[in-house]
C-alpha cells in the first residue's frame, strides 16, 4: 500500500491545538480515533510514546514523524497534523515542529510500514513542499497538495 492511499481529509487536522509534545502526540492519535481508524487510543498512544522516549522523532525544518508498531491496529494508519504556530518537539535542529506525520502499523506489516515511512522521508526533503503544507488553510488543501493537484 502506498502512502497516497492513506491520505484523505478525515486524517488531517489543521490547526493542531496542542502546545507541548505529550499533548500533540495524544492529539495526533485522537485524529485516528475521530476518523474511525482506531479503537484503542491508549494502546496506540503508549507504543508511540515508547518510541518517542528512545529518541525524538522530531527532525529538521519543522517536521516530525512519530511512528510505532502496535497490535492495536490491523493495518497501516496515517494521521497528518499541522501546527502553524510550531510546537517544541525536541527536534534535531532545536526548532519547533509544524508538520506531524503519525504512522502506525501492525507488527506483521513491516514492509508497507517501511515503504510509507520512506515516502514521508522523501517528502520531508522538499522544503518548498513542506512550507506549502505548513501554510495550508484546511484539510482539503493538504490532500490536494499531497496529490500534487
Amino acid at each position: 500500500m502506498a502512502l497516497i492511499d492513506l491520505i484523505n481529509k478525515n486524517i488531517v487536522k489543521i490547526p493542531l491545538v496542542s502546545t507541548n509534545k505529550p499533548a500533540v502526540l495524544r492529539e495526533l492519535v485522537q485524529i485516528l480515533k475521530d476518523a474511525d481508524e482506531i479503537e484503542d487510543i491508549d494502546g496506540v498512544l503508549n507504543t508511540v510514546q515508547e518510541r518517542e522516549y528512545k529518541q525524538s522523532t522530531g527532525l529538521q525544518d519543522g517536521i516530525a514523524v512519530p511512528h510505532a508498531k502496535t497490535v492495536a491496529v490491523t493495518s497501516l494508519k496515517l494521521a497528518l497534523g499541522i501546527a502553524p504556530q510550531g510546537i517544541d518537539f525536541d527536534c534535531l535542529d532545536g526548532e519547533p515542529a509544524k508538520l506531524f506525520f503519525l504512522l502506525v502499523a501492525p507488527p506483521d506489516m513491516s514492509g508497507p510500514h517501511v515503504q510509507a515511512l520512506a515516502e514521508i522521508a522523501k517528502l520531508a526533503q522538499s522544503k518548498a513542499f513542506c512550507r506549502a503544507l505548513a501554510k495550508a488553510d484546511n484539510a482539503q488543501e493538504v490532500v490536494d497538495l499531497m496529490k500534487g493537484e
Partner: protein, 162 residues
C-alpha cells in the same frame, strides 16, 4: 497454447492485493502447466534511507529488517500453502534491496515469461515523492506483466479450481 507461458512469477509483499495476485497466478500456472515462482523483497534500501534521514534508530533498522525477514517467511509460506492446496509446487524466492530492482533482477535470473502483480494504488499523485515500487517494476520488467484486480472474482476462480 501451453508453451505460451512457461514461467510465472508473482511479487508478494504481504498486502491483500498481492495475495489475490498469487491466487490468480496459481490458477494461471495450473491451466498453462507453467512453473510458478513467488518472490518477496526485503526493502533494505528503504530502511537504510530511514536511518540516514534519522527517522530510524540503529536498533530500529535491525528490528524492522528482522520483522521483514519474518514477514517474508510467513507470506511466502502462505502462498506456498495456497498453491499446494491446488497441487501446484512453487519456488519461493526472497531477496534484499530496492524492490523494483530486485523484482527485475529475479525476472531476468529465472527467465520469467510473466510477472504477476497485485492491484496498484488507485490514487495517482503527481508528486515524485510518491512512487510505487510495484508500478516501477511494471514499467521496467523485461517481460509481460499482469495486474490482477477484482478480488472477489479471483477468489471464486481459485476456489473452484480443482
Amino acid at each position: 497454447m501451453s508453451n505460451l507461458i512457461k514461467k510465472i512469477m508473482v511479487y508478494v509483499d504481504g498486502t491483500e492485493q498481492s495475495v489475490t495476485a498469487a491466487q490468480y497466478a496459481i490458477c494461471l500456472a495450473c491451466s498453462t502447466d507453467a512453473e510458478m515462482f513467488a518472490h518477496y523483497v526485503i526493502n533494505t534500501k528503504a530502511v537504510e534511507d530511514l536511518l540516514k534521514a534519522k527517522i530510524f534508530l540503529q536498533d530500529e533498522q535491525v528490528d524492522y529488517e528482522h520483522d521483514m525477514e519474518a514477514d517474508a517467511e510467513r507470506y511466502l509460506n502462505y502462498i506456498d500453502d495456497l498453491a499446494r492446496q491446488k497441487g501446484l509446487p512453487i519456488a519461493k524466492k526472497r531477496s534484499k534491496g530496492t524492490i523494483h530492482q530486485e523484482i527485475v533482477n529475479a525476472v531476468k535470473e529465472e527467465n520469467i515469461d510473466l510477472l504477476v502483480l497485485g492491484e496498484l494504488s488507485r490514487i495517482r499523485s503527481r508528486r515524485d515523492e510518491f512512487y510505487d515500487e510495484a508500478e516501477r517494476a511494471l514499467r521496467t520488467a523485461p517481460c509481460s506483466v499482469l495486474i490482477v484486480k477484482d478480488e472477489d472474482r479471483v477468489w471464486n476462480i481459485y476456489d473452484s479450481l480443482v
